[in-house]
């Protein structure tokens, strides 16, 4: 059972308990993350002042760490929408306890992802040149370029994800408002927009939420497809492939679900949410990860097959270099993390062992970050002309900014988890109602 003995009031008690003022250890953790973010900001300012020469970007590898981070974080975002929107449309019951955390992760992951193209631009302050606006130079963006598609897709995803999260929060924030005092009460009052839970409000809320989920579903698939076309539209061996869109989407869901595990397993203990987040929820998440691991493994095999089948010497050499070239060891790390280690999840015992799941999720995160790097930098390093081959090495500036990206994401997530409900009270209550009905009807409910 998901939440076997919980009553409706218990759900509020459990979740609102997480919104009590945090202690010193919490603020110390936030301060440490803020310090790493500060270091990243300093590194970025240094890069702005001196120029992109402070990075390891050299011909032929002009896309590397920053773009890897961008694709990785966009991918992380996707599982949140999968859990909150796609599984909502399928009325999947296990999502109720985990979806808010996943959706929150989506928003902050997109926020993190969006920073990296700006950092990669060098002259970040000209980012708006990607957008169409009236200007005296008579220039407009080329709408046939995947980079412009990207700006529209990621911008839309960012806006819709925020909207979806904030709208879903309204009934829960109203519950927090009714129990809070002081500035928190004022904050929740503003955020809940006067929600009272009347039948009229629920009627419009349910319709809007359903339709937003319906819109977010094709959106999430389109966004990572568009991100994959940043590569697939270029005639670079190793990139120019029609499999990229589904391959990237599957990889995104795979890495995102792993990140949900990485965040939820420690958070469950820290916030005392053991009753709301049971092994049953983690078991189901692990099944999604296992399924996506198999799809991603299939994509790796398919890529290799197509390179061989194409009989193109450039494609074949690119893949030969991918396996045995300067980044070959990273490729095998990727295979171990993404294809081999997740096979452990065939074991039901491991799927319900939170310690094991946490370790596996870390491996998957590493594997998926490495996958992005291998595809992006690896393909550019050994492209068509051997005389133009070159090996990329990240500079300390790139390493610092990459670490700051992780800290930035974690900092916002941790801040959110103590100030806004990280588990949806209304949806968990709906889950309890469903279980009761299933029990009364004598049906088989959750395992």
């Amino acid at each position: 059972m998901a939440t076997p003995e919980l009553g409706y009031a218990d759900v509020n008690r459990l979740v609102l308990k997480t919104l009590t003022p945090p202690g010193r250890r919490y603020w110390l953790g936030v301060a440490c993350l803020a310090a790493v973010v500060g270091a990243g900001l300093t590194a970025w300012m240094y890069q702005v002042r001196v120029g992109l020469g402070v990075t390891g970007l050299r011909q032929p590898v002009m896309w590397a760490f920053y773009i890897t981070n961008f694709v990785f974080w966009v991918g992380i975002a996707h599982s949140g929408t999968l859990i909150s929107a796609i599984l909502f449309l399928f009325r999947t019951r296990w999502r109720t306890s985990v979806y808010r955390a996943a959706e929150t992760m989506t928003v902050f992951a997109v926020m993190t992802a969006g920073l990296f193209p700006l950092i990669h631009l060098g002259r970040s302050w000209f980012f708006y040149w990607l957008l169409p606006y009236p200007n005296e130079r008579g220039l407009q963006p080329d709408f046939r370029s995947p980079l412009v598609w990207d700006a529209f897709a990621v911008g839309t995803y960012f806006t819709v994800s925020w909207t979806f999260l904030l709208m879903g929060l309204i009934p829960d924030v109203a519950a927090a408002r009714d129990q809070a005092i002081g500035w928190r009460r004022r904050f929740y009052t503003v955020m809940s927009l006067g929600w009272r839970g009347t039948d009229e409000q629920w009627r419009h809320f349910s319709m809007a939420y359903l339709l937003l989920a319906g819109l977010a579903t094709p959106l999430v698939i389109s966004v990572h497809s568009v991100v994959s076309w940043d590569f697939a539209m270029a005639q670079v061996p190793g990139w120019h492939s029609t499999i990229f869109a589904p391959y990237f989407v599957a990889g995104a869901i795979f890495s995102g679900c792993a990140m949900v595990l990485t965040l939820l397993i420690p958070m469950r203990r820290m916030l005392g949410l053991e009753e709301a987040l049971t092994p049953w929820h983690f078991d189901n998440l692990a099944k999604v990860i296992l399924g996506m691991s198999l799809v991603v493994s299939y994509a790796y095999i398919s890529e290799a097959f197509m390179a061989w089948y194409s009989a193109s010497p450039f494609e074949m050499e690119t893949f030969h270099q991918r396996y045995w070239g300067p980044y070959g060891w990273l490729y095998w790390v990727m295979v171990a993390c993404n294809c081999v280690i997740p096979l452990l999840l065939f074991s039901p015992r491991i799927r319900r062992h939170l310690g094991a799941l946490f370790v596996i999720s870390i491996f998957v995160n590493i594997g998926m970050w490495v996958e992005r790097f291998v595809i992006i930098a690896g393909s550019l390093a050994t492209s068509t002309m051997p005389s133009q081959w070159g090996v990329y090495k990240p500079s300390p500036v790139e390493l610092t900014i990459t670490a700051a990206g992780f800290a930035w994401f974690l900092m916002w997530f941790i801040l959110f988890s103590r100030f806004l409900p990280i588990v949806s009270m209304t949806e968990v209550k709906e889950g309890i109602r469903w279980q009761r009905q299933a029990h009364h009807a004598g049906e088989e409910g959750a395992p």
Binding site: Y8, Q140, L193
Partner: protein, 170 residues
């Protein structure tokens, strides 16, 4: 003194709340509103509420976004022609991507706007009869009736399983 009264009842169970609404409607009373701690299809069915007009907002927003996306891409490409990679100036397949994203964006934002407009949000004035228990674990029914009918409404509500019934002048 006003002849109108407002009766508010609290229920522990969703079924009891829905049953009370049905009983009240059968007895000829008008249920002003119901409060639920989560979206309840049973209560909605008992009230016989219509489908939300928010869907039309989404449709209108989506269509506007789609039209706007094509207008933007075709219009700007025609006004500022610049041929790249041998592709036509007006290349519909890549423009579909921009139009698609704007369809989703405008549909979503328009849907949220519709939700805020129809749900009458943005005010912190409590809905009459509201109790903080309704965001916790209680279901509520509010009936507007004449003072002479309060006793009868009270009876119907308690017979349906109300744990608490209170009334006030409306």
């Amino acid at each position: 003194m006003s002849d109108a009264a407002r009766v508010t009842a609290l229920f522990v169970a969703e079924e009891a709340c829905a049953g009370a609404i049905t009983a009240l409607r059968d007895a000829g009373f008008r249920v002003a509103r119901a409060f639920t701690p989560f979206a309840s299809e049973r209560v909605a069915e008992a009230l016989g509420v219509r489908r939300s007009p928010v869907r039309w907002w989404v449709l209108l927003g989506g269509l506007t976004g789609c039209a706007g996306g094509f207008a933007l891409t075709i219009g700007l490409s025609t006004l500022y022609p610049h041929r790249t990679a041998g592709m036509p100036i007006v290349s519909i397949p890549p423009f579909v991507i921009i139009a698609f994203e704007l369809t989703i964006l405008c549909g979503a934002l328009s849907g949220v706007l519709g939700f805020l407009v129809h749900g009458r949000f943005g005010r912190d004035a409590p809905a009459p009869g509201y109790r903080v228990e309704f965001t916790d674990d209680r279901f509520g029914v509010v009936v507007d009736c004449g003072t002479a009918e309060v006793v009868r409404v009270d009876e119907v509500l308690r017979a349906a399983g109300a744990t608490e019934v209170s009334h006030e002048a409306a």
